[in-house]
Amino acid sequence: MTAPAAPPTLYSVRPEWADVTPVVQYEKANPLAPIVYTEEYKDATDYLRAVVKSGEKSERVLKLTEHVIRLNPAHYSAWWQYRYETVVALSWPLDVEMTLMDELADKYLKTYQVWHHRRLILLLPGAGAGRAAQELTYIANMLQTDEKNYHTWAHRQWLLAFHNDDALWAGELDFVDTMLNRDLRNNSAWHHRFFVVFQSGVRAGEEDRQRIIHRELMCVCHVKQHISLAPNNASAWNYLRGVLEFNKLPLSNVATFVKPYTVPLPDGAKDVVDLENPPPGQGAELPCVAAIEFLADVYEEEGGESTHMAVELWKSLGDEHDTIRKKYWEYRILQARSV
């Protein structure tokens, strides 16, 4: 651990920094929204400005930038303009830097700069291709504590797309399943699944039409199972729509599956094993708003006489099941009638 112990010794009294003249922050008499800096921050940044001025790049500068970053992880000059440049200039061992980054990312999970620096380090020639697999494991661990952290997921998506290596992609669907098993309403995990299956995760050779259709059906089947476990899950319904729309399949493909979710759960419903159309589980809260909306879209797509049925469903959403969106449902009714 290189974290300074409390109370910190100011740089101004450290003998090893005696050769440096601190540079105070320039601010005129009438500052706007001035921050009441702590002595520790003022002192550390006085020395940061001094080394930036002299251009010193040394091990002690790495310690100094680390100190400033711990006090203010959003200090982009300490990160990008100085720590990164010093790491490069010194050919600093990247595994040492990454060990520190592991700790800092954990601490300052929501700071842009933490992730940006991490990416820059991974892009350095010395980082090695083998590092990527290790990085995936690290990200997976980070997502155990904060399952929806935007930066963490974004980093994983960048890493996969950047390396675009079959070996890295190979475990992604299993990883998504692990995340969805923990929380099947985790939209970040659903999004990642889409990213893997239909976007960057599409592997060479998979453009083959038969294989694509097979994969789509697998996905539709997968999402149906999840909906049957927890029907009121907007993420799963969005994903189902996404799969169908992306592949230009009509929504009516899944109408048979959707219908039982649009009505109250029948009394004495038995567990039926139907892999194609898994029914709602016992105790499911029905009718499900997303299912009603989906079915209305199926009817709207059919047009003609079916439009009337769509309108009835939208009315029930606006008047009873989804009143917060009443205006939206009224708009849909108006639009369908004007066609």
Binding site: P31, L32, Y41, N72, P73, A74, N186, S188, N238, I324
Partner: protein, 359 residues
């Protein structure tokens, strides 16, 4: 059936902005490198409440303008604004500190709110700077030559600056638009970068950027894309009236702005429940000043400004049966995120070709 709205605590919110402009506590040190934005939110709070002239005197406003101009910096790759003097050694307009794209947007808008005449603006330098922040893939970085993060926040700010200058010649618009398209997701929103999950803030930035851009060879959004975006945005309104930023997350006043303004840009402002929307914001007010992300949380200038901006957009749409004390605002421009009058000032004084009319 509609209950009256709780009053808007105008005086308390004014105090919140005043206190932040006077001093920020040491625990907020993380804003050291984005101070300009805090200033934009604070002077913006005065502007949205229509009290700038009443609450500040000419001397204050001149002094604030001067402070902002002290952050106007000329570098190797052009001219712009830095977030504050956190790395400054002297008052030098030519130093190693690069301007920052997001802070430059914040500074220009703050100066417009303060009715600066922009006579000190180096326009050619500003264009050079914005151009040098664009990356090969069409995206923008915060600083020239790929410095700092690159994501939709920077692209939106670059577009705002070009729109204010009335000159897009320093950037490759079509390439930037292609980058925006890559950020779109199956849900109908946009992620921060290609491959990322749809998020309310970045969706606003993308949709606003597409509408700020000059017309291109094709429509910026197909009717189907619009309908899908509208669908996702409308579904982000929670039963409480507040907006969430992502599917399945909790509502937050800042997403009331990002989602509400995106819908307004799309012309879909009448498709949400404006009353519940305003109730959520009203309920997130801190009685002693400022607005929080949700009831029971601590307020800050960011959530306060965006909540007032969101209210500016939607309170005119409230049913006449709803009476609320203090919820009256001047017209607001959802594309540039400021009062219409401020945007008119900016568009009149910032362009290089000064066809200045009296505002």
């Amino acid at each position: 059936m509609d209950d009256p709205l709780p009053p808007l605590f105008r005086d308390a919110h004014i105090l919140h902005a005043k206190q932040a402009l006077a001093r920020l506590p040491g625990c907020l040190v993380e804003v050291d490198a984005s101070r300009m934005l805090i200033i934009f939110y604070c002077v913006g709070i005065f502007d949205l409440l229509g009290v700038l002239e009443q609450q500040t005197n000419e001397m204050d406003r001149k002094s604030w303008q001067n402070w902002i101009w002290e952050q106007h910096t000329v570098g190797e790759y052009g001219t712009g604004f830095k977030p504050g003097p956190f790395m400054s050694r002297t008052l030098s307009h030519w130093d190693q500190e690069s301007p920052h794209l997001i802070m430059t947007y914040g500074a220009l808008m703050s100066l417009a709110i303060l009715r600066d005449d922009f006579s000190r603006l180096n326009r050619a330098g500003l264009q050079h700077f914005v151009g040098s922040c664009q990356n090969h893939n069409g995206s923008f970085s915060s600083m020239p030559n790929g410095g700092g993060e690159s994501d939709l926040r920077n692209l939106y700010c670059a577009f705002c600056i070009c729109a204010l200058l009335g000159d897009w010649s320093s950037i490759d618009v079509e390439r930037a638009i292609a980058f925006v398209a890559l950020c779109r997701t199956y849900e109908g929103g946009y992620g921060q970068l290609p491959g990322c999950e749809a998020q309310g803030g970045t969706t606003y930035l993308a949709i606003a950027a597409l509408h700020l851009a000059p017309p291109g060879p094709r429509p910026r959004l197909t009717p189907a894309d619009r309908a899908r975006s509208e669908h996702w945005l409308v579904h982000n309104q929670d039963a409480s009236g507040g907006f969430r930023g992502r599917t399945g997350k909790a509502p937050d006043t800042c997403y009331c702005f990002w989602g509400g303004a995106a819908l307004q840009i799309l012309g879909a402002q009448d498709k949400i429940d404006a009353y519940a929307f305003t109730q959520f914001i009203a309920g997130s007010q801190f009685p002693f000043g400022g607005i929080s992300k949700a009831a029971g949380q601590l307020p800050d200038p960011y959530h306060t400004y965006l909540s007032l901006a969101a209210a500016s957009l939607y309170t005119p749409r409230l049913p006449s049966s709803v009476k609320g004390y203090g919820w009256e605002f001047a017209p607001f421009d959802p594309l540039l995120n400021a009062r219409e009058e401020t945007v008119r000032w900016a568009r009149s004084f910032i362009p290089a070709q000064r066809g200045r009319q009296m505002v």
